[in-house]
């Protein structure tokens, strides 16, 4: 006997993600899932974002790594609430890890939650966490050919930050060619070239992020 199933293999994760989304929404929290390959500058982007926004809005950060709490210590120095998740080998965060982390996050005290995913351009694209926004950080030394190599990731995200534009004179990265490749995979994505070292372009990113959070909260 054949039984039709037609169930998404990740439906168990999606259900928990929906639950997270509801909990975050009830607390009026705007959540951003930040993904990238290792070393692209996820933590630097978070640090720069926190630095510029923490006096205007209460921010919390969840740090995901296979091991260590190096990033949590770095971000913790800014004085905002940080929860570290160690996946113990898993190459991505999933919704149930976020559900556990949220129990340790002072939800009534924050309005924006930044989640730093594990450095990987494959699996994090598949796992919903309950976020409002998916952001990919790429960096110029990585080369501009990554969209075609990791099409699902580039197709899934709402925004792409090109970090380390201060290195453009020294590396093979053509922003125009990169943007064309991204556009063929994802016509709606916003692209933000910036440098966490020099500060160039960061204000444009912050302005856009702020607008997204305000329009999601319905107050703008």
């Amino acid at each position: 006997m054949e039984i039709r199933v037609l169930k998404n293999i990740l439906s168990a994760n999606d259900q928990i993600a929906d639950h997270n989304r509801q909990l975050l929404q009830e607390n009026g929290i705007y959540t951003v899932n930040i993904m990238a390959s290792p070393g692209a500058g996820k933590t630097s982007v978070i640090m720069e974002t926190v630095k510029r926004l923490k006096d205007k809005v209460k921010i919390g950060v969840i740090e995901g790594d296979i091991s260590s709490n190096i990033d949590a210590q770095t971000v913790g120095k800014t004085g905002i609430p940080v929860v570290q998740i160690n996946t113990g080998g898993e190459c991505h965060l999933d919704a149930s890890m976020i559900s556990s982390a949220l129990k340790n996050m002072p939800l009534p005290e924050i309005k924006v939650l930044l989640i730093e995913n594990v450095g990987n351009l494959v699996c994090p694209a598949e796992f919903a966490l309950g976020e409002n926004l998916k952001v990919l950080v790429t960096h110029t030394p990585e080369g501009d050919d990554k969209p075609y190599k990791y099409p699902l990731m580039f197709n899934t995200v709402d925004a792409i930050i090109i970090n380390k534009i201060d290195l453009l004179p020294y590396v093979k990265f053509n922003i125009e060619s990169f943007s064309q490749k991204v556009k063929s995979l994802n016509g709606k994505v916003k692209i933000f070239p910036l440098s966490c070292t020099t500060g160039d372009g960061i204000d444009v990113w912050i302005e856009w992020l702020t607008r997204q959070a305000i329009s999601a909260s319905g107050s703008g």
Binding site: M1, I3, I9, C123, E126, N155, S184
Partner: protein, 104 residues
């Protein structure tokens, strides 16, 4: 995935799962051989032990917004083969689901 298989089999009162039919899109990066390998290990001592695993692979596909052509993405060319546009909508390749199971 394995839990879903057991859950569905249990609901139908089956005593044995003989086949698991999966649909996997090319863009998901899920590797069929690895899925077979995991299912073989997970299946041991369960009603799904030794079940055949059939995988329908779906290639990446797109529709061109400019000329409406639908096409399979060959060799990672994310460009419309008819008009050269990159104004595309991805229409296939992201699937990842259990289509059906066959039980006794």
């Amino acid at each position: 995935m394995f839990d879903l298989v057991l859950e569905q089999a249990k609901q139908s009162g089956a005593s044995k799962v003989s086949t698991i039919n999966l649909v996997i899109g090319e863009m998901t990066g899920v590797v069929g051989d690895s899925v077979r390998f995991y299912l073989e290990i997970l299946g041991k001592d369960s009603i799904a032990e030794g079940a055949a695993v059939n995988i329908k692979n779906i290639p990446a596909q797109a529709r061109c917004h400019d000329c409406q052509k639908e096409f399979v993405i060959a060799e990672y060319q994310w460009i419309c083969p008819a008009c050269g546009s990159i104004n595309l909508e991805i229409t296939g390749g992201k699937e990842l689901f259990i289509e059906s199971i066959e039980v006794n």
